[in-house]
């Protein structure tokens, strides 16, 4: 297992190098070059010359790349053109919100999707099965932002059950945020009201964000359980007289989990980009909305850093999936 894990981690190196080159070239492909990226499009020629000097933009490209990698490794992503703050601080401040949202969405998707897919497979052809198949089709087809509006209209505007936007209520300005995860902050600071308030702000965007992974998890669980149920080793377990619950847990689910884990991991990574849209709909102050605003304002230091940051997280999540695959499947681990 250790060797397997080490190999997987090593395989990351070329991907990360590739990513850094991609993002490095990204701003250089801009009309006007990296100077525009750093200063915005309306900079004076003097400022441009200053910046060229400062960042060594007159040096050869490979030297520029090396210094780019050095600054990335020292967490220097430059300064946001719109907020005039270091990009790394802006991202760090908003990251917990996005994590909170993504994790809540994934919890919803997994907690509903796996049981639903399982029941649909065990009652193949029943109304539960047909309903879950139709539902997951719809979940895949509906764009997150359209669903976001729908939820916002019904549950926030019409019924008033949840707030329409933001991460916390306007009366909560005195809340302390030691961790940045607002629900957690409410709990640690002994302020249950704040925790509930933060949770209420999370529900609707998390639901909107959860639909696509929910749909895919339901589908793959159903397909995987159906396939595994027909395997010879399940018949062997039946012939051994194992109880139904042992057969379900130890023989069916353990094998069916392999593709499910892959989809959960892949979808977790994709949620991060889905958050760009959901956070915008609900004015939820996370990385996604920050990135969307940066895109609108053509704030390239933020766009560049945001893409690199989210892509690296995506790659790391995929690494976790690979590693858990090794834990679940001895054929992968010991090959």
């Amino acid at each position: 297992m250790l060797r397997f894990a080490a190999r997987r981690v090593l395989l990351l190196v070329p991907i990360l190098i590739g990513l850094s080159i991609l993002v490095f070239l990204f701003v250089r492909a801009l009309p006007g070059g990296p100077e525009t990226a750093l200063l915005g499009e309306n900079a004076t020629p003097e400022r441009v010359a200053q910046v060229r000097e400062l960042y060594g933009l007159d040096r050869p490209v490979y030297e520029q790349y090396v210094s780019y990698v050095q600054s990335v490794l020292s967490l220097d992503f430059g300064t946001s053109i719109t907020t005039r703050q270091p990009v790394v601080e802006e991202i760090a401040r908003r990251f917990p919100g996005t994590v909170e949202l993504t994790v809540t969405a994934m919890i919803i998707a997994v907690a509903v999707g796996i049981p639903l897919g399982f029941v649909a497979a065990r009652r193949y052809g029943s109304w539960v099965d047909n309903l879950s198949t139709a539902g997951s089709l719809l979940g895949i087809a509906i764009p997150v932002f359209a669903l976001g509006y729908l939820l916002k209209y019904f549950f926030a505007i019409k019924l008033g059950w949840f707030p329409t936007q933001g991460r916390e209520g306007s009366l909560m300005f005195r809340n302390e945020h030691p961790t940045g995860f607002y629900v957690l902050d409410g709990i640690v600071t002994g302020n249950p009201e704040a925790a509930v308030d933060a949770l209420r702000h999370l529900i609707l965007p998390a639901l909107a964000l959860a639909t696509i992974p929910l749909a895919f998890i339901t589908r793959i669980t159903r397909a995987s359980v159906l396939e595994v149920t027909g395997e010879d080793y399940v018949r062997t377990a039946e012939a051994k007289g194992m109880t139904r619950s042992v057969i379900t847990r130890r023989h069916i689910l353990r094998n069916a989990m392999l593709p499910i884990v892959t989809v959960v991991g892949l979808q977790t990574g994709l949620l991060l980009s889905g958050a760009v849209l959901t956070e915008t709909v609900f004015a939820f102050d996370g990385i996604g909305r920050f990135l969307a605003q940066a895109v609108f304002a053509r704030d390239f230091p933020v766009i560049q850093a945001g893409i690199l940051f989210l892509a690296v997280i995506f790659v790391l999540v995929n690494l976790l999936v690979d590693l858990s695959y090794g834990l679940l499947d001895p054929r992968v681990r010991t090959r």
């Binding site: 991609l22 729908l150 760009v276 990135l291 609108f296």
Partner: protein, 304 residues
């Protein structure tokens, strides 16, 4: 499909063509019997017809304003004259939805065409030459696939500036590694197939085998992927437009932007958010259903 004695005697070279012809025939037979395929094809057809005949179908021009009826925060809803009501600028919502289909279809088709042709060309190179060409193409694909697709599209579109062309290029580029990988994989498995080995052993040149047999037989998954990619392209284009990355011209009716614009009026005019949302769902669902049905119909493992 069992081979009779006479069929078995036919040369190996025609086998690949036979398999293909049979596969296509089989696929059509199974598509006709699949309710999923019929619903999907109907929705797709509806979508394409609406897009093509938009000028005939739309009761008004998508840009004509009827400001006499619109007051701030209060727009007339559905009526006999305006079936889906008027939008915030007094334009006929139905006509805008109908014209929006045009933009969705054009963006979808052009971006998938870009992704599929460039991707297939690269996949063909990688699959046919192997070696360092293969290594280079596939590593580049790995790196691009390491970025979530919407994020990559956002980045590219932001880079190119606000326009429909940049949306098409962004979504097209995102699709390149998918098609490259797919075609290469299919070609590798076809290259090891019995008829390809047999043709090679009969002295047919490698290039000819690849072009005449390996490549055509690898196309089935590409067709499936292209259909599914159309569904994704429509969603992503709407997402980019929603973020303000589409055309800067407000008169152009893009579904994604129409949705974004209703944010301010959501409380009073929820229907204006519903129509473009519904239009996106219907068109995406059509391509998705058709793609899944094609996948099942073209899967040789399911042939019986």
């Amino acid at each position: 499909m069992s081979l009779s004695g006479a069929e078995a005697q036919e040369t190996v070279l025609t086998q690949s063509e036979e398999a293909r012809g049979g596969l296509v025939r089989d696929a059509f037979r199974r598509l006709r019997r699949s309710p999923q395929a019929i619903v999907g094809a109907t929705l797709v057809l509806l979508f394409v017809l609406v897009a093509v005949f938009a000028p005939l179908l739309a009761p008004y021009s998508p840009t004509a304003q009827d400001l006499s009826q619109v007051r701030p925060g209060q727009f007339p809803g559905p009526s006999a004259e305006h079936l889906l009501g008027l939008d915030q600028l007094g334009r006929d919502e139905l006509s805008r939805i109908i014209y929006g289909a045009r933009y969705s279809l054009i963006i979808g088709v052009v971006s998938v065409t870009i992704g599929a042709t460039v991707g297939m060309a690269l996949g063909l190179l990688a699959g046919a030459f192997g070696g360092w060409v293969d290594g280079l193409v596939m590593r580049a694909a790995d790196i691009m696939l390491a970025v979530p697709s919407l994020l990559l599209a956002i980045g590219i579109a932001a880079l190119l500036g606000r326009s429909i062309t940049s949306v098409m290029i962004a979504i097209g580029v995102v699709n390149i590694p998918v098609f490259a990988r797919l075609l290469r994989g299919a070609m590798l498995s076809q290259r090891e197939s019995d008829y390809a080995l047999a043709s090679r052993s009969l002295g047919v040149t490698k290039g000819r085998v690849v072009l005449k047999h390996v490549f055509p037989n690898s196309l089935a998954p590409v067709i499936v992927q292209a259909t599914l990619a159309l569904a994704t392209a429509i969603t992503e284009a709407a997402g980019l437009a929603f973020l303000g990355l589409g055309s800067p011209d407000p008169s152009i009716p893009e579904w994604g932007r129409m949705l974004a614009e209703t944010n301010a009026y959501l409380a009073s005019e929820p229907l204006l958010a519903l129509w473009p949302g519904l239009a996106i769902v219907i068109s995406v669902l059509g391509f998705y259903l058709l793609g899944e049905a094609l996948r099942e119909a073209l899967d040789p493992k399911l042939r019986r």
